[in-house]
């Protein structure tokens, strides 16, 4: 078994309205950042886990994402093993 650090990024699907991202965008524009095309807010999870291999860790993280970390109705996720 090895200790693996994984990173899961959860994003809203394309086309799903993101009021939080829009509000952040407006604030940034008020601060003077005028070149912003779009802000989408998401979530990142850093998960340290014991796994047989980096492949095994990745498949566990994928399962966790499908079951809990992301809501498939409106969100997508990306899994990577960082170390």
């Amino acid at each position: 078994m090895v200790m693996v650090t994984g990173k899961v990024t959860v994003r809203l699907k394309e086309g799903v309205l993101d009021p939080q991202g829009q509000t952040i965008q407006r604030a940034l524009e008020h601060m003077g950042y005028n070149g912003i095309d779009q802000v989408r807010a998401g979530k990142t999870f850093e998960i340290k886990l014991q796994a047989k291999s980096s492949e095994d860790a990745k498949s566990q993280l994928k399962e966790m994402s499908e079951k809990l970390l992301a809501n498939p109705v409106i969100e997508t996720f990306h899994v990577e093993v960082v170390e």
Partner: protein, 250 residues
């Protein structure tokens, strides 16, 4: 009929629901505990409002995996009655017992106000005492009540008459201004295809006595426990035992 009200860490409308059943409509009711899978042989499970598990991750996402919910999912699958209010609705969508999801309000604020909802389907166990098209006044209090589902899912809900409540204006018509959270098709509540699981964002348990500003929510409690319901419109407030008691004291 016996009712079970689930308490999760962070539930804050469990006692309101309990009081509505026990003290207002006079129906036996028990609390159920999130960590205990025992449903105590109740006939209907209430998933109350609040912020279960602090709304961490997503509203309802953590509650959905609690021991009691494994029993509730099985109970609902066997045809048992399940009624999710506010956070309870969010738990039901996370658990897959109802389609779609509740997104952040489109208006970027927590919505805490009195709304009007129209009964679109009075063939459910929760609305059978209502007239079709009856408008009920009750409060909402949520930050994530913006019902969303893919267009084909919404179309199916419409076609199957699964949309039970819609936000409407004072003329009883759904429009943009009467929609407090941006929900698709002004949806305020839906049932599953079998009709035994209801989820709704408004709080009928906070509208069971005129002293609360409206007693329109009573119609749903009375429907559920099978008490003959007369027309409970905004203008008529049916006297509850609790009100009678208070009146007697005065």
């Amino acid at each position: 009929m016996r009712i079970g009200v689930v308490t999760f860490p962070g539930s804050n409308c469990d006692y309101d629901a309990y009081a509505a059943f026990r003290h207002v409509v006079g129906c036996p009711v028990d609390f159920l505990w999130h960590a205990d899978p025992d449903l105590k042989d109740v006939d209907c499970v209430i998933l109350p409002g609040g912020f279960s598990f602090g709304d961490y991750l997503r509203a309802g996402a953590i509650a959905r995996f609690s021991p009691v919910m494994q029993s509730v999912i099985k109970f609902a699958g066997d045809g048992g009655l399940v009624w999710g209010i506010c956070n309870g609705f969010q738990v039901l969508t996370e658990a897959g017992l109802l389609p779609g999801t509740l997104r952040r309000n489109a208006q970027m604020r927590f919505a805490c106000q009195q709304v009007r909802i129209r009964v679109e389907n009075n063939k459910t166990p929760f609305t059978r005492g209502c007239r079709p098209g009856q408008v009920l006044r009750m409060p909402i209090a949520h930050g994530e009540g913006n019902y969303y589902a893919d267009p084909d899912v919404i179309a199916k809900l419409e076609a199957n008459n699964q949309i039970v409540f819609r936000y409407v204006n004072s003329d009883g018509e759904p429009d943009l201004r009467s929609n407090p959270n941006g929900s698709r098709h002004n949806i305020a509540g839906i049932v599953n295809a079998q009709g035994n699981v209801l989820g709704m964002m408004p709080h009928p348990e906070r509208a069971v006595e005129s002293i609360l500003g409206s007693a329109d929510g009573l119609a749903l409690f009375q429907s559920l426990i099978g008490v003959g319901v007369q027309a409970v419109g905004s203008e008529t407030t049916s006297a509850s035992p609790l009100i009678e008691k208070r009146r007697a004291r005065v």
